[in-house]
């Protein structure tokens, strides 16, 4: 055990702080106190994690860190596991949660949903952090349920019939996915007699039962990640949720299940992975990129457009599997995808917040009726445009670097066709982003009386500022490529679980 390592004793805090925050915000009765403690806990989380996560995967330390909860150690107990991949995701979660908490404090001010929003929000954060730290197959099942049920409840907070219907479908899909995952875990336990990721990574071999387990685990997680044929639930759920919830769903929640797929395919069950399977995932990803962009272009509502864009962007992530399967470039491919995850998280969160601001200010988000909206909502459209730059992958943004890395990997592994997909995806993304901007910046020459302006609620300047911060973050990521890659490199080798097994 590496428990004596610098910073490691604080590892459970990533889950414990959000859980405490959930309980505290449930017990508080004053709405103001609830939002202030919400922001407080988000700050605490960031400051508790950032300083030592920053250093943990340093050059002088082992590539991964384990923490034996309850002091038992795997396989009897449950371990936590931290490496570069997890570090990057934990840090981006903490940063995003802080900004979104501030946004939510304004968004839910004076609304009765706030009483349920904050506890559910913190439960969701606990689940996300838990998944990034997880090193136990069954533990992941419970965490997935936390994430799934909390997300469903948050979507339903919007209270409309559309939102509740979307939430119900999301819940059914989530339960179905969890059960498939659980059956896979049951098979793994039956076959290998352990639930610990490191031990599974050591024992795993290519035989029919492992293939079956991998297929079930992957199917369950793909349902939750919404890869193309299984994406049917995502657009309505993400589009009908309250703005900060849409942001966190697209930015982090779908990434959590993707993270697990990557873990299972690259680490835990890698001996059972076949080239055919990797190709299939990559192919589905490629189709998702193209189809998602087309669907986004045809969407009638702004938030629906942003949600379909998530379907497309998730497709890029799955290029990881064929690119990593080539063997030599595994690390490079992982680097590109992790970069992509962070860049997309920031840009998509900013975009959903901007769309939420427009929806709130105009009372609708019908794209056809948003003609000339830039005149009324210049800030939100500006944010939308900056985030769009990153989604399209124009320099100098995080999205550009991410796509650059993907292209590089595709070329150097000799799989140039994936590069074509990446380039086409960028072009198509430009189409739907510019469609919105073009419409919004059109000068409206109608007399002002004819422009429908049913202002339903004023947007607080703080909400605009939060969205702006995220959009700037998405662009700034393009200038700090070195930093992120170092963070990832230091801790991550794609086979950390099998390496860590001896400890």
């Amino acid at each position: 055990m590496n428990n004596s390592l610098f910073g490691t004793p604080l590892l459970p805090l990533a889950v414990v702080i959000p859980l405490i925050a959930a309980i505290v915000s449930l017990l508080l009765t004053s709405p103001r106190a609830r939002s202030i403690t919400g922001i407080g806990f988000a700050t605490l989380l960031l400051f508790a994690l950032a300083p030592w996560l920053w250093h943990t995967p340093g050059a002088d330390l082992p590539t991964s860190v384990r923490y034996a909860l309850g002091g038992w150690g795997a396989p009897l107990g449950i371990d936590l596991h931290l490496d570069g991949f997890a570090t990057v995701l934990l840090l981006s979660t903490a940063a995003l949660v802080l900004v979104l908490s501030i946004y939510s404090a304004f968004y839910f001010a004076g609304q009765s949903q706030a009483a349920r929003f904050w506890p559910l929000w913190w439960m969701l954060v606990a689940g996300l952090n838990g998944v990034f730290l997880a090193a136990d197959a069954f533990n992941v099942y419970v965490l997935l349920e936390i994430i799934g049920l909390a997300s469903v409840a948050l979507v339903a907070l919007a209270g409309t019939r559309e939102a509740c219907t979307a939430a119900l479908r999301y819940a059914l899909v989530g339960l179905l996915g969890s059960l498939c995952y659980l059956l896979g875990v049951a098979l793994l336990y039956r076959h290998y007699g352990t639930l610990d990721f490191a031990q599974l990574a050591d024992l795993a071999q290519a035989d029919p039962l492992t293939w079956a387990a991998l297929a079930l685990v992957t199917a369950g997680l793909l349902l939750k990640t919404a890869l193309l044929p299984l994406h049917f639930w995502l657009p309505s759920a993400h589009a009908n949720a309250p703005a900060p919830v849409s942001a966190v769903l697209s930015a982090l929640v779908v990434k959590a299940s993707f993270y697990l797929i990557a873990r299972y395919w690259l680490d835990i069950l890698s001996p059972a992975v076949t080239d055919l399977g990797s190709m299939l995932l990559g192919l589905l990803g490629a189709v998702a990129v193209i189809w998602g962009c087309v669907a986004a272009f045809r969407a009638h509502r702004l938030k629906l457009l942003v949600a379909y864009s998530t379907v497309a962007q998730l497709g890029y992530l799955f290029l990881l599997f064929p690119l990593a399967a080539s063997g030599t470039d595994t690390h490079m491919a992982l680097e590109a995808v992790v970069y992509f995850i962070v860049a997309h998280a920031l840009a998509k969160a900013a975009m959903f917040l901007a769309a939420g601001n427009i929806l709130r200010a105009c009372g609708h988000d019908d794209i056809a009726r948003l003609r000339g909206v830039a005149g009324q909502q210049p800030a939100s459209l500006f944010i939308f445009a900056i985030a769009g730059v990153s989604l399209i992958g124009l320099p100098p943004s995080g999205g550009f670097i991410a796509k650059w890395l993907l292209l590089n990997t595709a070329i150097s592994s000799g799989q140039w066709w994936w590069a074509v997909v990446v380039l086409c995806g960028g072009l198509l993304a430009a189409l739907y982003i510019f469609k919105v901007l073009n419409l919004a910046f059109v000068r409206v020459d109608l007399p002002s009386g004819q422009i429908p302006q049913p202002v339903s609620a004023p947007t607080h300047a703080g909400m605009t500022l939060c969205a702006f911060a995220l959009a700037i973050g998405a662009v700034a990521l393009g200038f700090s490529a070195e930093w992120l890659v170092t963070l990832l490199d230091a801790g991550s080798s794609v086979t950390t679980f099998s390496q860590g097994a001896g400890t």
Binding site: A22, W72, L76, A115, N139, V142, I146, P208, F232
Partner: protein, 250 residues
């Protein structure tokens, strides 16, 4: 294939899927299931190494029932998160209004119809289920039983109480919030405090393990019972926000 998966509420047997799709789904599932069955039955089970490990360490866990030892000591992190799952659903199903009477305990509603048979049955049933619940909780350390079973039995007593329509539950009251969150709160507090002593979160000192587990179990039982009861009363509309009783309570 299942592009929509939109649930309907109408009481029909008919599936919304066209016949071709159903046959397709059925054959895909049959083929997949058969392959799975074959793969499972042709592969030997792993030797029960973990079971041996559990029985070796049972003496240091603080309890004698191995399942309780796994749930509340070896893999207590899972159980902690599981209580969080229950709490999430309880929060999601809470009535949103804050201007409600502050009551936790069942409050009598004299207006409602009374069923003599049910009421007299309850006189026996309620104390009995509290007794059974307490027994299950206590015996969980040595024999089958524990917090979840005890909580379920207690909740069943509450469900019986709700079914008489003589009692209502105010789930939005401050007291109810404490009740449903106590399990998770005390579990985490125990984990942190013991972690301060031993240096690892959720690691109980061997000498105090039995006591700590009992404390966690009692709190968990109360919360689980409250949450399960809340799930039922909210669905069956036996709580104070329901329209047919709100007139009587206000």
């Amino acid at each position: 294939m299942f592009r929509e998966m939109s649930p309907s509420f109408t009481d029909t047997h008919a599936s919304t899927l066209p016949r071709v799709a159903r046959v397709l789904v059925a054959s895909v599932i049959t083929a997949g299931g058969a392959a799975l069955l074959l793969a499972t039955l042709r592969t030997d089970k792993a030797p029960p190494e973990l079971a041996v490990l559990v029985s070796e360490q049972l003496a240091t866990s603080g309890v004698e029932n191995p399942v309780t030892a796994v749930l509340l000591n070896f893999r207590s992190y899972d159980t902690l998160l599981e209580i969080a799952v229950l709490l999430i659903v309880a929060i999601a199903m809470q009535p949103h209004a804050s201007s409600q009477p502050r009551i936790v305990a069942p409050s009598t509603n004299n207006e409602s119809a009374t069923n003599l048979v049910l009421t007299s049955l309850l006189r026996w049933l309620i104390p009995l289920s509290v007794l059974v619940g307490g027994y299950l909780l206590w015996t969980g350390a040595y024999a089958p039983g524990g917090a979840f079973q005890a909580g379920a039995v207690l909740a069943a007593a509450g469900v019986a109480l709700a079914l008489t329509e003589r009692y209502q539950f105010g789930w939005q009251s401050a007291g109810a919030q404490w009740l449903i969150s106590a399990g998770l709160a005390i579990f985490i507090a125990t984990g942190i405090v013991s972690g301060m002593v031993t240096g690892t979160f959720l690691q109980y000192p061997v000498t105090y393990a039995a006591t700590l587990i009992l404390v966690v179990e009692i709190a968990a039982t109360v919360s689980i019972a409250a949450i399960l009861l809340q799930l039922f009363t909210r669905l069956a509309r036996a709580d104070v926000t329901s329209p047919h009783t709100s007139g009587a309570s206000s």
